[in-house]
């Protein structure tokens, strides 16, 4: 079988770190520098136009320089299925992942998700289980969330925070399964950093509280797929096995999960229950489905085939995932957020639990930095994460420099961290990025340099496409 030549395969189609634009950061208005980064004079192994992926793996810079990029790419349990469905595979966060499939273009797949339902393989993400009497305390040290207020099978978006600085090590969704056991999912592109971080925190905790205080498990044998779109619930419901009240997805609200079986085509139920969480990364209603493989290595493919055999469901890849999440105003780690930001610095202050903001009692990592930022942002934060819409023409993408429209010298006042023409908004150029404190108010007009041309942009609220999370009657 043709193995994937790691660095020659695929095309820089998600190329948020695109050639000329990332160059223009350093160029700062010079017309010369960007030229050196492209063109015929690059080494023959690099094709400038269709340059291989500096794909926006989570943790861009790290990915590019990481030795992992020269190691063989890992495959998810759905790898063969992707190939059979005509996927264009690209290296992403150390995995060979589907960028898109032969049946739909990127824009078509994006729109399909907004109108019907799409299935994404996200098995590259890291699934963890943390349990034991110390699990809650440990997680409430490394995150600022009020995890003690979560009911069983409830989840929340959170961030792992560096000790001292409060910098964002990774973003994560944490689910409380029982009083003292938690399931959480972290980014594939941050695997090494996250594991080292958690290892250190957990060792320290065990050292103080005993070896049995915490049990940490990485669920390597599980696949993870996301079914997203307005028809996701209807489709998934039709395959849920059994008929007890727990099988009714109408009572499974956003941010909650349940273990349920699906009915396979022969009428039997899946050999394991699947952990079905009502959540996602597209802004649509939908589910993330964690699939055990113990004794059933083909279960992920069976479930995927089951769901995609429905005529309203198509497979979708990283390309659509990226444009969907940006329209929904969601951050991509390594691009929109990094260890350089605290949650308030990344306009994610809301993840800090309301009852965790008292400096006298707050014990989470970085609390002494983060709490003053929440209390008086104008004094403590130098920049803010905001949305922009950019005038018609070339979109502003990652790395494009934000400037003051009236400043001839074009001194940077911010930077774009994600941006593209929005498929749902008829190609309107949308972007996320950071801008100087004070210029972050909605309606503020700024300039963005795209290939050294000044383009007008306006600070806008996010999301661009309203989220349709299923919150039940409210």
């Amino acid at each position: 079988m043709s193995a994937v030549p790691p660095l020659r395969r695929g095309i820089n189609l998600l190329g948020l770190r695109s050639l000329s634009q990332s160059a223009s950061i350093t160029a700062n208005g010079s017309t010369l520098l960007p030229r050196q980064h492209r063109g015929l004079h690059t080494p023959p192994a690099v094709r400038p136009f269709l340059r291989v992926s500096a794909l926006p793996s989570h943790g861009g810079v790290r990915f590019a320089s990481s030795p992992a990029s020269s190691e063989p790419l890992r495959q998810t349990p759905l790898y063969e299925l992707h190939l059979a469905q005509g996927a264009k595979m690209v290296p992403f966060a150390g995995f060979s992942m589907a960028l898109q499939y032969s049946d739909l273009s990127h824009v078509e797949s994006h729109k399909w998700t907004r109108e019907k339902a799409s299935l994404f393989d996200v098995s590259h993400m890291v699934q963890h289980q943390l349990s034991g009497p110390g699990a809650l305390e440990l997680l409430m040290k490394v995150t600022p969330s009020s995890l003690d207020k979560l009911g069983h099978n409830q989840s929340t978006l959170s961030c792992l925070l560096e000790q001292g600085t409060g910098g964002i090590v990774d973003d994560t969704v944490i689910t409380r399964r029982t009083d003292d056991s938690f399931y959480f999912v972290t980014n594939a592109g941050r695997r090494d950093e996250d594991l080292a971080f958690l290892e250190a925190e957990i060792s320290a905790y065990k050292h103080a509280h005993g070896a049995d205080s915490i049990k940490w498990e990485i669920l390597e044998d599980r696949a993870l797929v996301a079914l997203q779109g307005p028809l996701a619930a209807e489709v998934l419901q039709s395959y849920i096995h059994g008929n007890g009240p727990e099988t009714d997805l109408r009572t499974l609200y956003f941010g909650n999960c349940r273990s349920l079986y699906l009915t396979l085509p022969d009428g039997s139920r899946t050999p394991h229950p699947l952990l079905i969480s009502r959540t996602g990364y597209t802004g649509e209603d939908g589910f993330e489905i964690s699939i055990p493989t113990e004794g059933a290595p083909s279960l992920p493919a069976q479930v995927t085939e089951l769901l995609t055999n429905h005529d309203q469901v198509r497979l979708a890849g990283l390309a659509a995932r990226d444009s969907l999440r940006l329209e929904a105003g969601m951050c991509l780690y390594g691009h929109d957020i990094s260890t350089a930001q605290t949650p308030p610095g990344a306009s994610l202050g809301w993840i800090v639990g309301k009852d965790r903001r008292d400096p006298a009692t707050a014990t989470f990592n970085g609390a002494s930095t983060i709490l003053p930022q929440l209390a008086s942002p104008a004094k403590t934060l130098s920049q803010r994460r905001v949305g922009f819409t950019v005038e018609k023409g070339s979109p502003a993408r990652e790395g494009a420099v934000v400037v003051d429209l009236n400043d001839e010298s074009r001194t940077p006042i911010g930077v774009i961290t994600s941006g593209l023409p929005s498929p749902s908004l008829d190609g309107t150029n949308i972007a996320m990025g950071y801008v100087k404190q004070g210029l972050h108010k909605k309606g503020t007009e700024v300039g963005v340099l795209v290939r050294n041309k000044l383009r007008k942009a306006t600070v806008v609220g996010m999301p661009w496409v309203e989220s349709k999370f299923y919150r039940g009657k409210a």
Binding site: L13, R38, L40, H41, R47, P48, F49, K88, V107
Partner: protein
């Protein structure tokens, strides 16, 4: 769903088959190809092989006057980029050195510079693309050319890839 279980490089193989007729035309044309009027992407003088390619997936085709040329991106590039949403055209009289940008093509996913295969001076950009960028996906190697330039030295084309060499270069990718 595609019935064909595609290989890992669906494009390369598809582009490959699309290229074959081109090669065919090229080999018979010196004898049979006159007069030519209709299919511009295949037009060439009887003596010169005038449509050349770059490793960065541009094509350049010298007109019969031997002096002006049109530049565009290849079928393979257009296919790979996906839905093109915006094309940045060069200004008239822009002087470009080989390897410099003579335009840019934006898809939802990425921005890619279009590099001039040779040195010259821009006569015009293809205004059709201002209103209809998606045209790039429909006719990248013919009507959806990106720039027309005055070539400084037509001999510069000699060092570029011919159709066969280009085809081989994308088959490797």
């Amino acid at each position: 769903m595609s019935a064909v279980a595609r290989s890992i490089r669906p494009f390369a193989s598809r582009v490959l088959s699309q290229k074959l007729p081109l090669v065919g035309v090229r080999t018979v044309s010196p004898a049979a190809g006159f007069p030519r009027v209709s299919v511009r992407s295949f037009s060439q003088s009887p003596f010169l092989e005038v449509k050349k390619y770059t490793e960065s997936h541009e094509w350049i085709e010298l007109a019969d006057d031997g002096k002006t040329a049109k530049i565009g991106i290849t079928e393979y590039a257009a296919k790979s980029l996906g839905d093109v949403v915006f094309v940045e055209l060069p200004e008239k009289d822009l002087e470009v050195v080989a390897g410099e940008a003579v335009g840019a093509v934006e898809s939802v996913k990425s921005a890619s510079d279009v590099l001039s295969p040779v040195s010259g001076k821009v006569i015009r950009g293809n205004k059709i693309l201002d209103d209809k960028a998606k045209f790039i996906n429909e006719s990248p190697e013919a009507e959806a050319w990106i720039a027309e330039i005055d070539v400084n030295d037509p001999a510069e084309l000699d060092s570029l890839l011919d159709a066969k060499a280009y085809k081989e270069s994308i088959a490797e990718e």
